[in-house]
Amino acid sequence: MDRAAKIRIEHLFFHYGRRQVLDDVCAEIPSNAITAIVGPSGQGKSTLLTCLNRLCDAVADARVSGRILMRFEDRWQDILAPGVPLHWLRRQVGMVFQAPNPLPMSIFKNVAFALKLTGQHRRPDVNDRVTRALERAFLWNEVRDRLHHDARTLSGGQQQRLCIARALILEPEILLLDEPTSSLDSQASEVIESLLLALRERCTLVMVSHYQDQVRRVADCVLPLSSGKIQLLATG
């Protein structure tokens, strides 16, 4: 497996108002691997994740400093640099949230939503890509007959895989997952875990996880975060 670095975090500080959340975080995240950010609650794991697609910019009173370098087409780019177009960045760095958040529309339209945002409307292309994204998210066989049903009628695990499909349709090089199985039962979690292992071939995955067992099962690399600092660099 190619373990060249995909993301390099250098001296990252994050303040939320007066509270310091991340304190001089330095880390390297290998490409085509699953990196798990672990640690106790409230230590900045999710914050670190949202720095990687700069969704943290949406938070009022947030201040970020340091560098986050990402390798796109063999060129390193500092995504915290001013002038980086956020919509471009977020198309390269997809994100899946803790609780499944399908939009109130059909399954098909949920997955096609990101294409709509980029202005791609050609029907055959859209159909193809929706099918492919659903296949990659292990969901196609379960929903192929009801693509035009409301996405909210799916089960929790299916909704979460739908959200993964929605994030995959733009073929991001990096996929961020914020405790993707914490709202699911063990069976649904298992499916998601095997899905993550399969995605690693074409994607760099960074996930926050609370479950030690899960980390042991799927993570190639672990970043333990405590009090806003990386404790040690361990590779699995």
């Binding site: 697609n53 969704l55 956020l86 198309r91 939009l103 339209k109 990101a114 709509k116 945002l117």
Partner: protein, 294 residues
């Protein structure tokens, strides 16, 4: 399991208050129906004119309520269509773009505006009419358009605040869904936030419709008259139901005439109900559309 005493009290009080309100509404409507039902007839609406001729605008209606009904409906539709785009835009600004001191100051300003008594808004509209009359060669008088503008001004703060609150109440998870997929701020507002906030916004519009339909103080000063026939243009005086009710109740000559006032009140309630139903229908349609088309 036995309920704690406080729970039982709160429950009883909520039930009691609901029942009290319901019975009050029923009493008001029942009273109006009891007093006004007797004078309901085609003649009440169309006067001496044959209904078909009146509806086809072949002959004017005198002594009937048709001009007042048409006047009220056109006033409400006009005022709402002037106020909604403005209120929506300002509400979106307040919720999504405004930050810090400016947003706070504007919020305070809109709250003050919401507290301005309608008679003051009416006086303002009247002054505008006088000003325009002086500066445009005496051709502009208090009229339908000035009334509609004043009413729009009256309901604007409600629309702004309900739009803002509906948008701000959306959970963070909804708010971040589209940006995480690379949506720009405008795309997020258009495709996700507004459709999700629509029910809240529509309830603001329904409140505004009610306010426009019932207000008498503003229109009294800005163009309504006791007898004008059907409104001919935006720049003509017009009749309206609330003013008719006020006029009849203060100047009736016999009990039969007073009864027409009650009947007019019933008609006003029915018009409001229809406008509310239309707004609810639009809400449903838009909701269904955002679900299907996106």
């Amino acid at each position: 399991m036995k309920q704690p005493p406080l729970d039982a009290v709160v429950r009883l009080a909520s039930w009691g208050s609901t029942l009290l309100l319901l019975s009050l509404v029923a009493t008001v409507i029942g009273f109006l129906a009891f007093k006004g039902a007797g004078s309901f007839s085609l003649e009440l609406v169309f006067g001496d004119t044959p209904p078909l001729e009146a509806l086809l605008l072949r002959r004017p209606v005198f002594g009937g309520l048709l001009p007042a009904i048409v006047g009220t409906v056109s006033l409400v539709v006009l005022a709402i269509s002037l106020a909604v785009p403005l209120g929506l835009a300002a509400g979106i600004y307040m919720a999504e773009y405004g930050r810090g001191r400016i947003q706070q100051a504007l919020g305070l300003f809109f709250d003050i505006l919401a507290g301005v008594p309608s008679i003051v808004v009416g006086l303002f509209g009247f002054s505008v009419a006088v000003f325009l009359h002086r500066h445009f060669g005496g051709r502009i008088y208090p009229c339908l358009l000035i009334s509609a503008l004043s009413l729009a001004f009256l309901v604007l703060p409600y629309l702004i605040r309900t739009t803002q609150n509906a948008l701000e109440a959306l959970p963070e998870a909804v708010r971040l869904t589209a940006p995480a997929l690379g949506a720009t701020r405008l795309q997020n507002i258009r495709f996700v936030l507004l459709p999700r906030a629509l029910p809240g916004i529509l309830s603001g519009v329904i409140l505004a419709i009610g306010r426009c339909a019932e207000d008498t103080a503003v229109i009294m000063l800005t163009g309504v008259v006791a007898s004008a026939g059907l409104p001919r243009s935006l720049f003509s005086a017009y009749e309206a139901l609330p003013f008719y009710i006020y006029y009849i109740s203060s100047q009736y000559r016999d009990p039969a005439e007073l009864a027409t006032g009650y009947a007019a009140a019933l008609i006003l309630l029915a018009i409001c109900a229809m406008l509310f139903a239309a707004a609810a229908l639009i809400r449903q349609r838009l909701g269904a559309r955002s679900h299907q088309r996106l």
